[in-house]
Amino acid sequence: MRLKSLLPLLIFLGLAAVLWVGLGLKPREVPTVMIGRAVPEFDLPPLDGRTQGLASAALRVPGVKIVNVFASWCVPCRVEHPQLSALKNLPGIALYGINYKDNVADARAFLDGLGDPFAAIGYDRSGRVSIDWGVYGVPETYVVDGDGKIVYRHVGPISDDDLKTKFTPLIERLREGA
C-alpha cells in the first residue's frame, strides 16, 4: 500500500473530522435587546367570539407569566402544543397567547381542534405588536417576571427537553425569588 493510494482516504478523514466538529457547533441564539426590559406597551383585541384580549397591564401583575406567539399556519406551533398544555399546568403560572398574522376562522379551528391552553389571547392581525416584542417568526415564547420584565425568550417550538431543562428550572427560580 503506497502513500499515493492512501492519500484520498487521509484527505477524506480530515474532512469528515471537520464536518463532525461542525455538526456539534451550537447554533447561536437569536440576539434580542428585549431581555431585561419591561414588556412593550400594547393592547390587543380578542379573537372574534371571545371576550378577553391581551394588554400589557395583564403582564405587570405579580407572578410568572408566559407569552406564546403562535399562528394556525405554523406547523411547529402544532408540534409544541402538548408542551404548552404542560406549561399551563405548572403551579402559579399564567399562560397567554398572541395570535400572529392569522385569520380568525383558522385560529379558532386550531384552538378547537387541539385545545386552548391560554388564559387569554391577543389577536395581532397586522403583526405590529409582535414586532414590538422583537418576534422574528413563530413560534416564540417569552417568560415575564413579577415586575413585568422579560427574562427569557425561546425561539422555535418548545421540546419536551426544553420544558425540563429550560422552562421548569427558570420558573422555579423566579417563584423562589419572588
Partner: protein, 161 residues
C-alpha cells in the same frame, strides 16, 4: 537518443506528473491569494467599534458583514428617496449604516438585519447589501434557501451570541 523502454516510460510519466503538479500548484496559490482578500467576516457593531484599529484585521480596507438589530427610531430616508440611513445595534454598541437600494420587505425597526459593505473615509458603513432576518419556522428548507437569496436572510450560523 535511444532510451531503454523503462526509462522512456519514466520520462513520459514524469512529463504528465509535472503538468499535473504545476496546475495543482497554481491552484493552491490562487486559492490562498483569493482567500486572503475575499473572506467576508461577520461582526456585531460593538466588535466593529472595538476592532477598528486592529492592524491585523485592516477593517478600513476590507468588506465585512455587520449584524444586529435595527435601532428603534434610527431609520431615515435621505433626500434622493432611495438611500436609507439607520443604526445597527447589538446592545452595547451601535453603528451607522447607509444603504442605497430597495430594502427587503421585512426590514423594520427592532428587527434583525445583516448588512454587507465597507467603511467609508468618514467612518460610516456603506452597505451594498442588506438582508432582513426572517425565520418563520413553517418554511421548508427549499423556500428558506430561496428567501435567503432574495435577501430575507435566515439562519443562525452567522449570528453572534
Amino acid at each position: 537518443m535511444a532510451l531503454s523502454p523503462a526509462r522512456a516510460r519514466k520520462r513520459r510519466r514524469l512529463g504528465v506528473v509535472i503538468i499535473a503538479a504545476a496546475i495543482l500548484g497554481i491552484a493552491v496559490a490562487l486559492v490562498l491569494f483569493a482567500l486572503r482578500d475575499t473572506v467576508v467576516f461577520f461582526f456585531g457593531p460593538s466588535e466593529v467599534i472595538s476592532r477598528l484599529d486592529d492592524p491585523k484585521l485592516r477593517l478600513q480596507e476590507r468588506r465585512f458583514r455587520m449584524g444586529g438589530l435595527v435601532e428603534e427610531g434610527s431609520v431615515r430616508r435621505l433626500e434622493d428617496g432611495k438611500t436609507t440611513e439607520f443604526r445597527i445595534t447589538d446592545g452595547p454598541g451601535a453603528f451607522t449604516v447607509r444603504y442605497t437600494g430597495l430594502l427587503p420587505d421585512l426590514f423594520r425597526e427592532g428587527q434583525g438585519v445583516v448588512a454587507e459593505g465597507r467603511l467609508d473615509d468618514k467612518g460610516r458603513f456603506i452597505a451594498d447589501e442588506v438582508l432582513a432576518k426572517h425565520d418563520e419556522n413553517y418554511m421548508p428548507k427549499e423556500v428558506a434557501d430561496a428567501l435567503k437569496k432574495t435577501g430575507h436572510w435566515q439562519g443562525e450560523s452567522e449570528a453572534k451570541p
